[in-house]
Amino acid sequence: MPKWGLSMSEGILVDWLVDEGTEISVGDEIMEVETDKIASAVEAADAGLLRRRVGEAGEVYPVRALLGVLAPASVGDAEIDAFIEAYEVPEGEDEGEAEAQYEFADTVAGRLRYARRGGDGPAVVLIHGFGGDLDNWLFNIDALAQQARVYAFDLPGHGQSTKSLEEASIAGLAGALGAFLDAVDVGSAHLVGHSMGAAVAASFAGDSPGRVDSLSLISAAGLGEEINADYIDGFVSAQSRRELKPVLLHLFADSSLVNRSLVDDLLKYKRIDGVQEALQQLAANLFPGGVQQTVLAEKIAALGKPTLVVWGAEDQVIPAAHAHNLPGATVEIIDGAGHMVQMEQASRVNELLLGNILG
């Protein structure tokens, strides 16, 4: 049973997507898992022959429980039975330690929440999009942390960071990114931005090229003018579950990912004092009338940094065609994914990100 996010302690194995005897490759969707936060397909982290489905559909299992056994055909059934019999769910880090992994940094841009994972390797900073927070990287942060020192933070006006924006613009948010890097003592980093966060990363790279090692831009704002005004306006104005849910359907290719918890968590965020004003200011300055005001494509191309552009082919917020507006970049358009491609096709995106970061 995978662990998605700090608060997950157990999950429901909704259903298997593969039969015993299937040869599995890395990235194959092997089962559906649902937690109190999210429902998603689990992608195989290892390749091999699925010899035994241990977990039963519809049952609840703790994180790290044994759900299936991969083994070559040469391994006998008795040996597999013995392995299952002997398996014990490994002890996880205790609750207190997990909690401490959300930290707060007092910066010149205000108090910012962040998560830090991984020890060695290059510094990587993940920057979420408009209305998002660091949990948008739920399926990416741990995978990247195996080979890098990864920071994900909440931009001002977002998540659990300060809700006041000194300057509601891409440049203003880029200033907050710089303030965050200073606060956590990171000189230069590989920047990974999603949507508005990609424009923030690009803007920062233009102003401080020496502090940026590479750019990975996912479903990026800032590469063209079009943006779905219905989505932006709907997200800003929605006050209730009934208003917000249809808006969120724009984010994913698979509409079943927009479940009750996702809607509830976003409503909880939107109800906090100051959030409404912050979102209104940002929307009015960045995307008035469905036109992006900050287009950075030429500026990014001129930097000559290793640049990756990733898009979900079914993006309904920013057209995937914008991926081709950046000469010299590595471009990857992924089928079966929408605007939140880093959640919907996490394994593929993680592989691409590590490719760009590690060179």
Partner: protein, 335 residues
Amino acid sequence: MARKLSMKDAINEALDQEMSRDPTVIVMGEDIVGGSGSPGENDAWGGVLGVTKGLYAKHGDRLMDTPLSESAYIGAAIGASTCGLRPVAELMFLDFMGVCFDQIFNQAAKFRYMFGGKAETPVTIRAMVGAGFRAAAQHSQMLTPIFTHIPGLKVVCASNAYDAKGLLIQSIRDNDPVIFCEHKNLYGHETDVPEESYTIPFAEANIVREGGDATIVGYGLIVHRAQEAADTLAKEGIDCEIVDLRTLSPIDIDSVVESVENTGRLVCVDEANPRCSIAADITATVSQQAFGALKAAPQLVTAPHTPVPFSPALEDIYIPSAASIADAVRKTMAP
């Protein structure tokens, strides 16, 4: 940042944050400071159950211990609200409303209407409701339906700490009189509560659990009993959806109807006495608006039509239980 907080502490934090934010917010009631002038610990008791503890030390004279006269201080709070303050008056037990009927029903609820919209009454009246506290018939009633009957009043009853904080802040900022009901047996109940101020809009029910077989509607303590019932029923293969109303006036009937259109079955649960209860009201509205969707007769689970008994054994069976809710759902499932 969110952390676990009891409903009692969440209410205290909402009052504290609104008093800090808005100098027109004042708090008044019997013993809410702790008996001003009495020495030692008594001076900081903060209400009969300590909900307002610590606020006097921080906000001083903006908290007022009133005489034992609900008629006088509820009237004073309503009057002050028409003159620019935002009073939060604590009626202690909602059962005591009888002596301030006129002030609430005939004055506060009518001003906006009778003065052609020129007068506003931004007063919040907090009061404990509900049985199970061994406090006998005069301190245990669920009198919510009496208030929902009156146009001009808003009525809130939270089921958890997160909702209590957001709904109380919304109540204080609202420009109409709000009756804010606090179930005394939920004061110790903890949920994640953000440190920041936030508001939950009125008439936005919470879908506590999604399910396709039957809709259980309730508010306050009942929501927890409904969850127990739903857990039991899930093991029998019955998937319940639970709608926590949060506010009773205005009421989010659309969410209830939408749910019933999906499940085809309705169980309304109410700790109030059955005649003219919230449960009866919802059953009537849904029967009218979604008659075609109903696969079975709606079921009502309420307290009996008796005063709340003082005998602990009787009081325990007076409040709708998880078992009685589960039985009602099974009845709707019967072929």
